[in-house]
């Protein structure tokens, strides 16, 4: 066995370059590969990823289903004239590309029609009107606005035409000059409702990924402290390589998962009624991934510090409070900030991870703004990761009691 082979047949110690592999992997790469392998073998992680994907795909499917579903209504009438009005209203709606599927139920009188509505066999009844009105609609509890819109439109046109004829003029002449145009100054402005949904999606995806993968980092640091293997690791490789490996491994996993989620989301969007918004959103989503990448490196370093301050898993709750609070602030800032607040947030490192992509999605950010913002975040990332590495390498070997950041800074290596 190789254990027994004598490498020292000559007096000289063998040249390390010949008895070590030619392509030496950097220790952090080995550490990162282990972090990834551990995560890929974690059933909970695989299952939750799968269900999140199903949820995203499913929600888009559901939206598309809702959008494509025709408006169905059964309308009770008491006369052929009413049936004709319903028919014309439906045609007018279909002509305006609204999907309508109406059916008519003819009954002898108003009482019978109302009974049908009350029994739920008809949604609306179209009955002869009172007090000068030709028609009235009767529903049970709620108004059906789709039915009323198109019926009112058809009836209005008919009545207007009758009045015009009686006056010896035409509908066109009556209407001349009555139209009001509505010009939008900002043609590119996007639907605020849509922007809100996108903002919520970014904020929430960030929150989930930062928490799940952050906790993973902290737990793996504590595991090494608690099991005492950290001393073997520290003797084999520089402690910073261990930290870098952990951060890289988890950042790779977090970003890959996010790419998967965002990708499925964008594909889903392309099949939805908002497909036209895809080009604008794809840019914002791309920037979101870039911001997340840099932002999560910083958070990952903080999570590692939270882990290194703890001595047991139970301590994590308290040592990770600052970083979980920070994550919440970013989440709520992303959801609730608007206007100037949002503008400022889009330049504050970490806050910008969510805020800048939302501004990009809403079209209020110029092309250079994300570049400046990511630059600011990068500078902070370098400073914070260095600081985190200092605290981590001091506290990770302290297996006695839980530490505070201040205590850790005072420790000697």
């Amino acid at each position: 066995m190789t254990l027994m082979t004598d490498r020292r047949t000559t007096a000289a110690r063998p040249d390390p370059s010949t008895d070590r592999p030619a392509v030496v992997e950097r220790p952090w790469q080995v550490v990162a590969a282990r972090e990834i392998a551990v995560k890929l073998r974690d059933k909970n992680f695989l299952i939750s990823t799968f269900f999140t994907l199903v949820l995203i795909a499913g929600s888009f499917g559901f939206q598309a289903f809702l959008a494509n579903r025709p408006h169905e209504a059964t309308i009770a009438v008491t006369s052929p004239a009413a049936a004709a009005v319903v028919d014309q209203a439906e045609q007018a709606g279909v002509a305006a590309e609204v999907k309508l599927e109406w059916s008519v139920k003819q009954v002898p009188d108003a009482k019978a029609a109302e009974a049908l509505v009350r029994a739920g066999d008809a949604d609306v009844a179209l009955l002869p009107g009172a007090n000068g009105a030709q028609w009235r609609l009767v529903g049970e509890r709620e108004r059906d606005d789709t039915v009323s819109t198109w019926v009112e439109k058809v009836v209005g046109e008919q009545v207007l035409a009758e009045h015009a004829t009686a006056l010896g003029t035409s509908v066109e002449q009556l209407r001349a000059g009555s139209t009001v145009s509505y010009d939008l100054l900002d043609q590119d402005a996007r639907d605020p409702g849509f922007v809100r949904v996108v903002g919520f999606a970014f904020a929430f995806l960030f929150y989930l990924a930062a928490l799940i993968f952050g906790m993973q980092i902290a737990q793996s640091v504590v595991e090494e402290k608690q099991s005492r293997i950290v001393e073997i690791l520290a003797a084999a490789i520089p402690i910073r390589q261990l930290l870098v490996g952990k951060i890289v491994g988890n950042v790779v996993m977090a970003v890959s998962q996010l790419v998967l989620f965002v990708g499925v989301g964008l594909v889903g969007l392309s099949f939805s009624p908002w497909a036209a918004l895809l080009p604008a959103l794809a840019g914002a989503a791309g920037w979101f991934l870039v911001f997340f990448l840099v932002g999560f490196v910083v958070l990952a370093a903080m999570w590692a510090v939270a882990g290194s301050l703890a001595t047991r898993n139970e301590d994590l709750q308290s040592t990770s409070t600052p970083v979980t609070t920070l994550t919440m602030v970013i989440l709520f800032g992303g959801i609730f900030l608007t206007g100037t607040g949002q503008l400022i947030a889009s330049y504050v490192p970490l806050m910008s991870v969510v805020a800048m992509p939302i501004r990009l999605a809403s079209g209020t950010a110029a092309w250079w703004e994300p570049l400046v913002s990511i630059g600011v975040t990068l500078i902070l990332a370098v400073v914070l990761v260095r600081l985190a590495a200092r605290i981590y390498s001091r506290s990770v070997m302290q297996t006695g009691t839980r530490l505070t950041v201040r205590q850790a800074m005072k420790l000697q290596g």
Binding site: L3, R8, D19, V30, R34, I232, A235, G413
Partner: protein
């Protein structure tokens, strides 16, 4: 050769290791002995670069030690540790790769070590499912996985059953035979005496004695025991020696020079029969008690 030169480490006001120097020669089993708090673990941690050095240096092959040198060392810390939830083989492969082995080389080495320790059938089991003794064996395998060029082992025998102690001793001897310098600490002085080529005795952060076992034994005044047929009270009157103890026909003396020995024996033979006249070599335990007292 591993050289420790004037190593010093403070914890606040307390000086845990004070100007400690010793060598661990190639192919030598060097025992590191001392009471609790003598500074053995602190010294070993500084050698392995796990703890910052406050003074002095560690040298390897005649030059200051580097991170790469340490990466090729095998280390067993006082506080044992492995990933409890990772399978045994995966874990050893991981540690081998951290020491710079390629994945296939690490896998081959890990498989061989597990076979050697009779754990081949447990390769896929999680460490936490192993008995403590078997976990200890995996811990040893972890220390030697990457074919180390030096071994630094903190209390490698603690917690081992007698059979495991023997196989651990064999393993250490095997590495020493291959020219690897081996430094290990232990409380079991009889074991150290049986196993070691050289000894370093630490007390209160200082080296109080060091050298080969033979050098140490003969460093103090050599004593002689004389057993005669009759009462030997007369030895008190022999010049050139110090009487340590006289008990009927037996006397324990310290000779001041070689010639006195001859004179003593001649005198004893003149007075009657002599059953024994021999050098008394102290055991390591006795030396230890003497230097740490």
């Amino acid at each position: 050769m591993l050289e420790v030169k004037n190593l010093t480490r403070r914890f606040g006001e307390h000086i845990a290791v004070d100007d400690v120097s010793f060598d661990v020669a190639d192919g030598r089993l060097t025992g590191f002995v001392g009471g609790n708090g003598a500074g053995k673990t602190t010294t070993m941690r500084m050698i392995m670069g796990v703890l910052a050095i406050h003074g002095g240096e560690v040298r390897w092959d005649g030059r200051p030690i580097t991170t790469a040198d340490r990466q090729s060392f095998g280390y067993m810390p006082e506080e044992r540790g492995l990933y409890p939830k990772q399978p045994v083989l995966d874990q050893l492969v991981y540690l081998g790769r951290l020491h710079g082995q390629s994945a296939p080389a690490a896998r081959a080495a890990a498989t061989e070590l597990l076979e050697r320790f009779g754990l081949a059938d447990r390769a896929k089991d999680k460490v936490e499912s192993l008995s403590l003794g078997n976990q200890q064996r995996v811990q040893i395998a972890a220390a030697v996985i990457a074919d180390p060029v030096a071994l630094v082992l903190d209390e490698p025998f603690s917690g081992l059953d007698p059979l495991a102690v023997d196989s651990m001793a064999d393993l250490l001897r095997e590495y020493a035979r291959r020219g690897v310098p081996v430094l290990f600490s232990s409380h079991q002085l009889d074991l150290v005496e049986r196993l070691c080529d050289a000894l370093v005795i630490l007390s209160g952060g200082h080296v109080v004695a060091s050298g080969t076992a033979d050098e140490l034994r003969r460093s103090g005044r050599v004593r002689h025991r004389l057993v005669a047929g009759d009462d030997v009270g007369w030895v008190r009157d022999v010049p050139g020696l110090t009487v340590v103890d006289v008990d009927g026909p037996t006397a324990l003396v310290e000779l001041h020079d070689e010639a006195t020995g001859t004179r003593l024996l001649t005198e004893a033979l003149r007075r009657g029969s002599v059953r024994e006249f021999a050098e008394v070599v102290p055991t390591v335990s006795e030396i230890y008690r003497e230097v740490t007292a």
